[in-house]
Amino acid sequence: MPRILAAAFSLLILLACALPVNAQGLEIPITRGTEAAIPIAIVPFAWEAAAMQDETTIDQVVRADLNRTGQFRSPPREQITELPARGAEIRYPFWKANKQDYVLIGRVQSTDTGFRVEFELHSVIQNRVMLSEAIAVLPGDFRRASHEIADRVYEKILNVRGAFSTRIAYVTATRLGGPGKYEYSIRVADWDGFNPIRVVSHSEPFLSPTWSPDGKSLAYVSFERESGPAIFMHDLATTSRRLVTSFKGINGAPVFSADGRTLALTLSRSGNPEIYRLDLASNNLTQLTRHFSIDTEAAWGPGGNSILFTSDRAGKPQIYSMPAGGGTPERVTSVGEYNSRVNVSYDGKLLAMVHGNRNVYRIAVLDRQRGGAGTVRMISPGPMDESPSFAPNASMILYAAREGNRGVLYAAPADGSVRYRLAIPDGDIREPSWGPFKAR
């Protein structure tokens, strides 16, 4: 029986390969650090439904999700030779002999409205089932279901909420006919780059899309107005949008506070870029920095008590921190000649930033968990990497890179042990921003 199933699955793999692929993902494993990753076997889910099998293969999506965090090490599908579909079919000694700590199995069945996917997570070490659940899936919705399963497995094993069902926003530039003619768009997609949706397009550039904490809106910078850059807030469900600021000069780098009521942003209406906070209900504006240098790229510290930002008050751009109500900034970065665009993990323990050294710009992670000035780790190779953005559980950092003449997006865990180029169709992509968890 297993052999027949294996043959059937090989056929399905062939069929899957024959389907048109419009988006090329790329996995870049890096040997460093992966020894600590948790071994988990993900068995192809048994297709027990009457309808023809969906092109999305659940185990492939779950495996990719887990492996891309660098925290798991799941062997490729070809190496899975035993194919249990139910708990009773699992032979723990077999998986133990194959050095797996966990086994995920599942099956897909028909329902009146679509499908039901049952899945079980087993601990090989403890010889027991840890998780046994079922989720309803509508036809064509198998990727979403797969990400949900990956979230459940991630949380069950690591006790940290999974972020595979979250979405990302980014900016694309598409060259049109005629020199210097582009169409710029802000798009929203699944975390891995699938299912992209266009939010807004214009012939002038967009910058710095950023998510409201409820995931319902984006704020961004648009150059569509003759007078210069302006900040807009865009409701994703209704597509209505609101002009937030359009002062003389720069209106840039918006970022929501955790309660969604305040935007930290950059305005140069006083003559040079300064950090402000804007109360969205009252439109009350408070200036937080006062210095003749460039102060920009604000990020909220943990608990919303501090604001970190880029400033070149010491000559070159470095990261500073100040109380969220304003006050004397303290320098945060001490390593390197160029540090900018800081992004803070949800717990405040990790800072991701652009780190420049001569002509090489990489994503650096400053780890402050052990106190002091912290330790700095490079998680990307450069040479033109920018815009780091943490997943809401800090499992990965999304960033933009240049390959040839186009921008691409990568996701990498904070230890830099692996790297994944997002499967987004050709185009020049930049300014990624990782969205929040869905409310639960």
Partner: protein, 173 residues
Amino acid sequence: MNTPIRVLVLALAIGGLAACKKEVVKPMDSTDAPPRDDTAQVTPADDSGAYTTGSLDMVPCLVSRVVYFDLDQSSVKSEAMEMVRCHGKYLSQFPGARVALEGHADERGSREYNLGLGERRANAVRDLLLANGGRSEQINVVSYGEERPICTESDDSCWSQNRRAEIRYTAKQ
């Protein structure tokens, strides 16, 4: 195409755009015009030393509309001073003239910080225009940061063309 000529063609192209409703830039200008470094020798177009609106398309230091900057710098280099002075003088002579000063940065580093750098460069040109007779209501500064590169290769020659401030006339008189 070597850099000075490319710079001139660019400047002429921009000049030509500003002038497109009235006159067409003669093709000979793009080949026979002297290189940028010679602009300092050029004198105003008539005997009284005053510009006419036609000077914008004729006088080389007014035809030049792009100021280039060194890496991480926002000070106007000496070779661009004379050109900026010419535009200041033109603005003082035509109070109705308006310019947009567009500041730009190269692609290196983060985009929002580069927006600040582009603005700093445009402001440096604005200050020189003001010191040479321009008035603040004639000048509108807009920074595009690294969003509107002239050239998209990742190398020094390309970056040096992108670190610039462009003077764009929105009204000639």
